[in-house]
């Protein structure tokens, strides 16, 4: 038992509890907080895997940016607890339990086969230098591809989330009315005939 084991167990337990918190809470804001806790404890686990850079990125990108966005949206839309009126998805709940067990069984199998190999990586594996070298040599094409992805995400989210400008609304209404009017006009003609 070393300190790293204690660290692992503590943060693994924290992560699991918080993950349950994510899925079992009714109030989205509690779920979000649960997820933030999971993310931060995973960051600590990354540290125990000698991946400090990834750990820092985990907190900066996930906890610092993505989850802020979530919390922001929850507050912006003021989503509170929602009582469900319909129960159409109830069968999914019954599906969930056996699925959970099946996946747990699978996990047991995996864990059993993997066993306890010695780590082959040096402690320098997760250093900024190593990662940067990989990023700008072998991974240069995927790296460039992510820029397309992000540009597209900016365009897409701006497109979907901005409010309709008055002129936009006008144009859409005109276009819809045009197709309706056409239909009505012919109807009248037929009645007249």
């Amino acid at each position: 038992m070393e300190i790293v084991h204690i660290l692992f167990l503590a943060f693994a337990a924290l992560a699991v509890v918080a993950a349950f918190n994510v899925i079992l809470q009714r109030n989205p804001i509690y779920s979000a907080i649960g997820l933030i806790v999971v993310l931060c404890s995973l960051a600590v686990l990354f540290l125990t895997l000698y991946a400090p850079f990834i750990a820092a990125m985990q907190v900066i990108v996930y906890a610092g940016a993505i989850m802020v966005l979530f919390v922001f949206v929850i507050m912006l839309l003021n989503i509170r607890e929602e009582e469900s009126k319909t129960d159409r998805q109830k069968y999914l709940k019954f599906l969930a339990a056996p699925l959970f067990l099946a996946l747990l069984g699978m996990i047991a199998a995996v864990v059993k086969t993997v066993g306890n190999p010695a780590p082959r990586g040096t402690d320098q594996l997760g250093s900024v230098q190593t990662l940067a070298e990989g990023m700008f040599t072998k991974y240069v094409l995927p790296f460039e591809a992510t820029s397309v992805l992000i540009l597209m995400a900016i365009v897409g989210s701006m497109l979907l989330a901005r409010r309709e400008k008055a002129e936009d609304v006008e144009r859409i209404e005109q276009a819809l009315a045009a197709s309706q009017e056409g239909a009505e006009a012919t109807e009248k003609e037929e009645v007249a005939a």
Binding site: M1, E2, I3, I29, I33, I36, C40, A43, P52, F53, A56, M57, V59, I60, A63, G64, A65, V68, V71, F72, M75, L76, S127, V128
Partner: protein, 376 residues
């Protein structure tokens, strides 16, 4: 279990705990007197006296304030979301304090009586059957060394926003909510510019380790600071631009004048902490000043050479003096700005962040890379 107590880890943990305690007390004192200094300096700027009754020149004022905070009635409004309402101030303060562990406050210094002290500890632990080899003749003036220290700082800073936004939401009051949302939007926007401005400096120094960064600025009689271009004077333009961007966005990050929109009294009462009182309010208050301090410390380390200065090599303890002098300069700047500048409007703030600061920061990265390729 014996091996656990013998392990280096435990010594490290204990040593760190002691250092953390010292740093904590120190930073609390800085915060306390920062508040006092702010009131006095503002008073001077506005041509009045300021607090000068408690103790000599009012020097005990911070403690009086503290006592007042503790004994005030702790009001919890009825409609709040209790758990989150209680958590919010803590979420704000903890990350703000956690940042401190990576900053180098000075070089490796000889500890007076260090040899005697380590002898004493070694003897005592040997008597309980432990085999510690403590060496305290010289100590490092930082709590831990982290090879991605700078990223750690950004990671922790980015967590502070939750406290504010959750505090605003949990209060269940429209002023708080608006203040919280404004604040989070502002912090996210300016964090981008802040992180990007730092990239220019990183190109000069090529490391994320704050200790290395501080140590690397020691040439030229301790004046080869990054703001002067670090390794080569040719980088001066990009370094200066980076410094200005950093300074502006740091002020916005800490929600201070002229970017203190989240607590604009005229429109939002007191912003996200409208519904907080007593000790919980004190925590928010403290967090704000701790954040100001840490941001100043980072500015010092990144741009102004950290603890470097003339004669530091000969007298290591001088480092900490230089360091504090630089930090206090930044803190004074904060107060000075508060005394001089009016507040921005919200749209001006956002436009400034996204349409001016961010593009300039991006441009500066390109500039720094070009200069770096040409001259480094």
């Amino acid at each position: 279990m014996q091996s656990l107590f013998n392990s280096l880890d435990l010594q490290f943990v204990l040593g760190s705990l002691i250092k953390i305690a010292i740093f904590w007390i120190f930073i609390m004192l800085v915060v306390a007197y920062m508040v006092y200094a702010e009131r006095r300096v503002l008073a001077v700027i506005q041509n009045r006296l300021g607090p000068n009754r408690v103790g000599w020149q009012g020097l005990l004022q911070p403690f009086a304030d503290l006592i007042k905070f503790i004994f005030k009635e702790d009001l919890v409004p009825l409609a709040v979301n209790k758990a989150l309402y209680m958590m919010a101030p803590v979420i704000v303060l903890v990350p703000a304090m956690m940042v401190l562990i990576v900053y180098p406050f000075g070089p490796e210094v000889p500890l007076p009586f260090g040899g005697v002290l380590s002898q004493l500890i070694n003897d005592l632990t040997a008597r309980v059957g432990l085999n510690w080899n403590v060496d305290l003749r010289t100590i490092n003036l930082y709590i831990t060394n982290f090879n991605v220290g700078l990223l750690y700082v950004f990671a922790m800073t980015s967590l502070g926003v939750y406290g504010i936004v959750i505090g605003g939401w949990a209060s269940n009051s429209k002023y708080s909510l608006l203040g919280g949302l404004r604040s989070s939007a502002q912090m996210i926007s300016y964090e981008l510019a802040m992180s990007l401005s730092v990239v220019a400096v990183l190109i000069q120094i090529g490391t994320l380790d704050l200790n290395e960064i501080a140590r690397g600025q020691g040439d030229w009689f301790g004046l080869r600071w990054n703001i002067f271009g670090g390794p080569t004077l040719a980088m001066l333009p990009s370094a200066l631009i980076a410094f200005v961007i950093y300074l502006i966005s740091a002020i916005a990050e800490t929600n201070r004048v002229p970017f203190d929109l989240p607590e604009a009294e005229t429109e939002l009462v007191a912003g996200f902490h409208t519904e907080y009182s007593s000790l919980k309010f004190a925590l928010f208050f403290m967090a704000e000043y701790v954040n100001m301090t840490t941001v100043s410390v980072l500015a010092t380390t990144l741009f102004l050479g950290g603890w470097q200065g003339p004669f530091v090599e000969q007298f290591p303890w001088l480092g900490i003096v230089y360091f504090l002098a630089k930090v206090f300069f930044f803190l004074f700047l904060y107060i000075w700005l508060r005394g001089t500048l009016p507040r921005f409007r919200y749209d001006q703030l956002m436009n400034f962040g996204w349409k001016i600061l961010l593009p300039v920061a991006l441009f500066n990265i390109v500039l720094a890379s070009v200069l770096g390729v040409l001259f480094l």
